[in-house]
Subunit: 179 residues, 2 copies
C-alpha cells in the first residue's frame, strides 16, 4: 500500500510518500514541500500547488492519498489557505481516481505517538523512528505529511473491517427482510 | 469587458456571465448553477465543480473572473465547502491566465443596490433591472453570480484609475529621487 500524505498549506504544502502495510515495517518513498511565494496572487499560488502535487503523483504513483482534515476554529487567514490548498490536493487525486481519506491532526498524532496531544517534536521523533531515518524530516510540514501517510496505513485495516462489518450487516438485514 | 462571476459553493455554485463597460447598459451572456451531489465524496464534488466551470470558460471565454471573497466567521461546514469551491474556480482561471478579482458580499450588494446590507430579494430585483431580464434569475446563487460580475465591471475603472495613480506617483517619486 503506497500512500501520499499531504499537510496542506499555501506557503508550505508538506508531501510525504510511505509504503507498507499495518504490522510491518514501513518505508519512506519520498518527502518534500511544495512552496508558493506569499506575494503571488491566490490563483497563481493554487496553480503552483497543483503543479507541485501533480509532479509528486506522476513520480510516485500512490494508491491512496491522506490529507489533513481542516477545521476553521483556528486563525481565519491560515484556515482559508489551508482549505484551498487541500481542495487542490483532493482535486488532483479525484482526477486520477485515487481515493482520498481525511484524518484530523489529533488522529494523526495519536496514531504515531499514542497521544492526540503530542507536540511537533514528538511527532517528528516518532516519524524518524518508524521510518528508520537518520534525522527528523524538515520542515515540520514534511514530517507531518509522512505522519499522515503512516496514520492512513495503520488506520486502513480498521476502516476496511468496519466497512466489511457494515456491508455484512446490511446484507443480513436485507436478507432478513426479503426472506 | 466580459466577466464571469462565481458565487462559490459545493452544493450550488452560481455562475453568471455579463458583458459591458461602466456607464453603459450591461448584457447578460449566460447564467446557471453547477451542482454537485451532497452524498458524493469531497474529491468528486470538487472534480464536478472543476468540470462545470471549465465548460463555462470554454463556452463563454470571459476576460475576467470575479469570485466572492469567503470569510470564515460564518457556519464552519459551509465556509470550508465555499473556500474549497472558490479555490477550484480560481485555479481554473489561473490555468488559462484569466485575472481573478475577489469582492466581498457587501461590496457586491453596495455596487448593485447602493446598500451593503441589502437582502437577497433586493439584489435579485436590481440584477433583473440592470440586465433587463423578465424575472429574477433563480436560484439566488445564480443571481448573486451575476451581481458579482456587474460589481466587477463597475469597480474595474476605479481600480484601474487607482492603479494608474499609484503607478504615476511611484514614477514621480523615483524620478524625484534619481534627479
Amino acid at each position: 500500500m503506497r500512500v501520499l500524505g499531504v499537510d496542506p498549506g499555501l506557503t508550505r504544502c508538506g508531501i510525504g510518500v510511505v509504503e507498507g502495510t499495518a504490522g510491518r515495517p514501513l518505508t519512506m518513498v519520498g518527502v518534500g514541500v511544495v512552496r508558493t511565494p506569499a506575494d503571488a496572487d491566490l490563483g497563481h499560488r493554487l496553480l503552483a500547488v497543483e503543479q507541485g502535487i501533480e509532479q509528486w503523483l506522476d513520480e510516485h504513483r500512490p494508491e491512496h492519498m491522506a490529507v489533513e482534515r481542516v477545521f476553521s476554529q483556528h486563525n481565519v487567514r491560515t484556515v482559508m489557505g489551508t482549505a484551498q490548498a487541500s481542495a487542490v490536493a483532493m482535486l488532483c487525486a479525484a482526477r486520477r481516481g485515487i481515493p482520498v481519506a481525511l484524518h484530523t491532526p489529533s488522529e494523526v498524532k495519536a496514531a504515531v505517538t499514542g497521544s492526540g496531544r503530542a507536540d511537533k517534536a514528538q511527532v517528528g521523533a516518532m516519524v524518524t523512528r518508524l521510518l528508520r531515518l537518520d534525522a527528523p524530516p524538515k520542515p515540520a510540514d514534511a514530517a507531518d505529511a509522512l505522519a499522515l501517510a503512516i496514520c492512513h496505513i495503520w488506520r486502513a485495516p480498521a476502516q476496511n473491517r468496519l466497512q466489511q462489518a457494515v456491508a455484512q450487516h446490511t446484507a443480513h438485514a436485507t436478507k432478513g427482510r426479503t426472506a
